[in-house]
Amino acid sequence: MNTHQPVLSVGRAAPATTPPSQPDTGAPTGADAESLQFMLGAELAARDLYRAAHAEGAATPVPDLIVVLADNHGAYADSLAAIIGESANEAADAAVFDERLADFETTDVPALADAAYQLESQLVVTHVQLVGELRNRDAAELLASILISEARHCAILADLSGNGNDLEALLENPAEPLSSPVSSDTATTATGS
């Protein structure tokens, strides 16, 4: 993740800044850790689904596109595991994987792209939801950097599925979030995480 922070180029810094009210950094705990663990499993499932598609031999117009997408989700999973810490369970979410595997095991590129578009869209809205629930700022920043790229995945896949001339399809995301085991009420009232 690029964590570049711009520096002042001219003038003096304002003398007073208000730090965020909760300094929640470091290893996430409580509901935050549970939410991140869920997303780790979902990202691993996404990686494995793309690997399954690659193994099936779908010929995308850009060589290695499926590999790039698989690698990206693998990198997101690695980052989530790193921020969760040693308690991270690096197993793909079976529900996310099993429900979609048949749609990914195909050589029909538009059909594969459509299935992948649905998955990426769900990942994006789930990350967005969690960014608004996590108390841990480091974790929120990580999810923000992940979902920005996944939103770009969505645009690529919308085009690849044959909707390149449909501005709505390229720009809109009507997906529902993945079902997280952590309710938003629990997450927003978590402390010390």
């Binding site: 002042l8 117009p61 608004g132 923000a144 085009d159």
Partner: protein
């Protein structure tokens, strides 16, 4: 007087004379502050204020109005190609919706909505960019050799800047729910940028930048070499080399400007965005502007108004 003592005297006098010259030329006492040589205008203090959620929301609003203003100017100047007209109209509509949402959030947070472009970005980025696209006779700047191309690159840069800015604000906002609201907007911005890249570069070429394609090919090659022996490794190597070469060659067009891609990095980048435009000089160089996510100079503090 011996030569030695004369030299010592001259040296002493030299130092005194230099000191006198410096004193005569300067109108201020010697400062302990670093980094200034000669006489400069007094440093202008930044507006006083806290960088709190309210200021960040107002700054976000200013980014939306900046984008709207950029689209308005280039459209009014007749510099938008037909292929981009409908998307740009949609983008402006989205930015207006974002601005309304941010104004509403500002009001809910007890503040005064900011409904103007960001003055710092307008002065330091937009003005010089437009001067190099449209030309500025007074400043000796010729119009661009391809203003339509430049307008597309500028739009792409500002959409990416907006997305990166919201991403950056996630780490600064105190209220978690605001992070969600801003990232919903950020998703819109990066998808705007994606659409521009796909039209500009063409699909499927625009999907993935050469860096990521090259990384995937390299990883696949390494995996093949490590896991399946020399024969399979050799095959993977031959395939990877052609893909890496094609990717690297696909990064620039004939006029030397890089083509945009939808996906150029694995994670959302917060790095400075550099947009190159304008007429090339004799050496082939062009004007470049650097766009950065909001910092102290571009924050819209509570004391600031349109």
């Amino acid at each position: 007087m011996s030569p030695l003592s004369r030299r010592a005297l001259l040296r002493s006098g030299g130092v005194l004379s230099l000191g006198a010259i410096v004193a005569a030329c300067g109108d201020r006492q010697v400062s302990q502050a670093p980094g200034r040589v000669g006489n400069v205008p007094p440093v202008t203090d930044l507006p006083q204020g806290d960088v709190d959620d309210l200021a960040l929301l107002r700054t976000a609003s200013s980014l939306e109005f900046t984008a709207i203003e950029v689209y308005r100017i280039v459209t009014a100047a007749g510099l938008v190609d037909d292929a981009y007209m409908t998307p740009f109209e949609r983008f402006v509509s989205d930015h207006q919706e974002h601005a309304e949402l941010l104004s509403s959030l500002t009001t809910q947070a007890g503040g005064e909505p900011y409904t103007c472009p960001n003055p710092w970005i307008m002065d330091r980025a937009v003005a010089p960019i437009l001067a190099n696209v449209l030309g500025d006779e007074g400043a000796g700047i010729e119009p661009s050799d391809n203003p339509q191309r430049d307008v597309v690159n500028v739009a792409m840069a500002f959409e990416n800047l907006a997305g990166a800015s919201y991403q950056a604000l996630v780490g600064q906002l105190a209220e978690p729910e605001l992070r969600r609201d801003l990232m919903l907007i950020a998703v819109d911005e990066v998808r705007h940028a994606s659409v521009i890249a796909m039209i500009r570069t063409g699909t499927p070429k625009a999907y993935v930048g050469p860096q990521l394609v090259g990384a995937a090919a390299g990883a696949e090659q390494a995996e093949a070499e490590a896991g399946t022996g020399a024969e399979a490794g050799g095959g993977a190597e031959a395939e990877s080399e052609s893909e890496v070469g094609a990717g690297a060659g696909a990064g620039a067009e004939e006029d030397g400007l890089a083509l945009p891609f939808v996906l150029q990095s694995r994670f959302g980048s917060l790095g400075a965005l550099i947009v190159m435009l304008g007429k090339a000089d004799e050496a082939g160089g062009r004007f470049s502007a650097t766009l950065e996510t909001p910092a102290a100079n571009s924050i819209i503090y509570e004391s600031m108004s349109c």
